[in-house]
């Protein structure tokens, strides 16, 4: 069997480059980790109340593991609350775009949940976490200055966290050492308020100052059964849906009226 590689005229010139690459990046830096999750298709059914998603995989020994769960970029319009006279009310429209509709960052166990913050619990200055989102977010509307922009981003994060759509979870990943590589497991909660669509689960391997990203995997969230049918009807055939709602209400009301009249009659 011929080794055709050696016959390639330019290959010998690439050998020093490959050699230096191996020296510069130890095995961990080559993003050898793998990640999977279960379930990766989430069906929003009549009794859906959110779900745990398990993640698991392997990584080179000695690497620190981070996992990002990132939704699609969304442009959302918000109302900023302010004081108008003695009353708190909506005072200005704010558009926030180029940030995901869902974002979780999962870190390794060993940190207290009370100190959850991307600045304290995760390596600083890296290309992930709220800091990274803050850098790329576009906020427009009635803004006063840069300080207002930072404050609004924090309010945006607070709102998303209150809906369990954003979160920094430093204790979510557990590592077990193996002979050649480490095994990690973890999980995160998807609330019933999660928007439909595709989500990426990204593996980040940290060693020293370097971070490499593995190939992301996808999670899909779809409505099925009754919720899918009802939202389709409500949005695409609103008049039919409205009449159906009234018909069902009148029929149920009359039926219950008849049932109780009969019961009262018997007693």
């Amino acid at each position: 069997m011929k080794l055709g590689l050696t016959k390639e005229p330019g290959f010998s010139r690439l050998l020093p480059l490959i050699f230096f690459s191996l020296l510069l990046f130890p095995p961990c830096s080559r993003a050898q980790g793998r990640i999977s999750c279960f379930p990766n298709l989430i069906q929003v059914t009549t009794f859906f109340h959110g779900t745990w998603v398990k993640i698991y995989g392997t990584c080179p020994s000695g690497c620190k593991v981070l996992v990002e769960i990132v939704g699609e970029d969304a442009k959302e319009i918000f109302m900023k609350k302010g004081k108008y006279g003695p009353l708190w009310m909506n005072v200005a429209e704010i558009r926030i775009e180029e940030v995901p509709n869902l974002y979780f960052l999962l870190g390794q166990a060993g940190k207290s949940p009370a100190t959850v913050s991307d600045e304290t619990d995760f390596p600083k200055g890296k290309n992930y976490g709220y800091g990274q989102l803050r850098q790329r977010v576009r906020i427009s509307g009635s803004l006063v200055d840069q300080r207002e922009r930072v404050k609004l981003f924090q309010e945006f994060v607070n709102l998303k966290e209150s809906e369990s759509l954003y979160g920094l979870l430093p204790n979510a990943i557990h590592i077990e050492s193996g002979s050649d590589e480490d095994f990690f497991t973890g999980r995160f909660w998807l609330s019933p308020k999660v928007p439909l669509g595709d989500y990426e689960v990204r593996l980040l391997l940290v060693t020293g100052d370097k971070i490499l990203r593995g190939d992301p995997i996808k999670i899909k969230i779809v409505r099925v059964g009754l919720p899918a049918m009802m939202s389709l009807l409500a949005l695409q055939h609103p008049a039919l849906y409205g009449f159906l709602a009234v018909f069902v209400a009148i029929a149920t009301g009359l039926l219950i009226g008849v049932i109780f009249r009969n019961r009262n009659g018997r007693h």
Binding site: V44, T45, T46, F47, F48, H49, G50, E76, I77, F78, M79, K80, K81, G82, K83, P86, L87, W88, M89, N90, E93, I94, L152, E155, F156, N158, L159, S162, P192, K193, R223, L226, P227, A228, M230, S231, A234, L235, P238, A239, Y241, G242, F243, L244, A245, V246, V248, A249, I250, T252, G253, L254, I256, G257, V258, F260, R261
Partner: protein, 308 residues
């Protein structure tokens, strides 16, 4: 956990027993006090995390069921003044349509939820205070309040006797211009469109003190016009705002219709003034809770615009 119900329009999940319990509680109060439960249901749904616009529209839908059931019972007893009810209904339909359009415009401006809250505070404050004071007077045995009330009624009578097209409403035994029920129906209809309720807690006092109808006919006639008015509001909310959650409405009405039957039985054990002052206290507590939300800094200073 398996009994958590996903509400596709509200986009949230709530335990089915919690919803049945809420419907049952409001229905129980409704049966106990003889008024519709919409004015309590919508704020309670908002407190549970249902978006205000969805809470108001879905509440309208569940009121259709409750009032249909009540109208059927009163129709069998001969307690429905269809002529008066029709004029109230025409006014209500116009007012309801106007109310839904107002909400649509305000949703685009981002102030719909604020308007719902402020309207609630004003209406609950007014009705709660009025009922509380009137019941207190009656418990203390003061007859002077009633005399003052009669004095005010006579002023109203003089005003609307001067209105054109006076006609006789045989079932109620009163003579009025149709403009009066049209106007009252329209006023309550606007509130129903904005607040997502049948308006019974406003309409019933108006029928007593302004239209001077007998109490047994008032309840049946009010229920009759509410069926159609809330149906109209439900259809308009579904078409214009996509805010009717049928699943939420069905669970609520199952609870409320059963609760109403239980409440009606318990009400026979209590005195009328005790019931009224209890209801007034509940209304005022709900009002104070909503007022506090308007007066004190909210936990979150950013909110979705018109999203449910």
């Amino acid at each position: 956990m398996g009994l958590q119900l996903y509400l596709p329009i509200a986009g949230n999940s709530i335990h089915i027993l919690f919803l049945l319990g809420l419907g049952g509680l409001v229905g129980f109060l409704s049966g106990l006090f003889g008024v519709g439960g919409g004015f309590l249901m919508t704020p309670l749904l908002i407190m549970l995390g249902i978006p205000p616009t969805v809470a108001a529209a879905s509440d309208s839908n569940q009121i259709v069921a409750a009032t249909a059931s009540g109208t059927y019972a009163h129709y069998r007893l001969g307690n429905v003044d269809f002529k008066m009810g029709t004029f109230l209904l025409i006014g209500g339909l116009i007012g309801g349509t106007l109310g839904v359009q107002i909400i649509k415009i305000l949703r685009n401006l981002g102030n719909a939820d604020f308007l719902i809250r402020i309207t609630y505070v004003v209406m609950l404050g007014w009705v709660g205070t009025y009922m509380f004071l009137e019941s207190l007077q009656q418990i203390r045995g003061a007859g002077r309040g009633k005399e003052r009330l009669r004095g005010r009624e006579s002023l109203f009578i003089r005003v609307y006797k001067s209105l054109p097209w006076q006609m006789r409403f045989e079932k109620s035994g009163v003579t009025h211009s149709p403009l009066m029920p049209l106007f009252l129906g329209g006023f309550v209809g606007v509130l129903a469109g904005i607040m997502g309720l049948g308006g019974g807690f406003i309409m019933v006092p108006m029928m007593v003190y302004i239209l001077r109808m007998p109490m047994h006919v008032i309840v049946g006639t009010n229920l009759f016009q509410e069926v159609f008015m809330c149906s109209n509001v439900t259809i308009l909310q579904a078409i214009l705002n996509h805010t009717v959650d049928l699943l939420l409405a069905i669970i609520l009405l199952l609870g409320s219709t059963v609760g109403a039957q239980a409440g009606a039985r318990v009400s026979r054990l209590l005195q009328a003034d005790q019931l009224k002052i209890l209801l007034a206290s509940i209304i005022l507590l709900v009002m104070l809770k909503m007022l506090a939300e308007l007066l004190f800094q909210p936990h979150l200073l950013l909110n979705y615009k018109g999203v449910h």
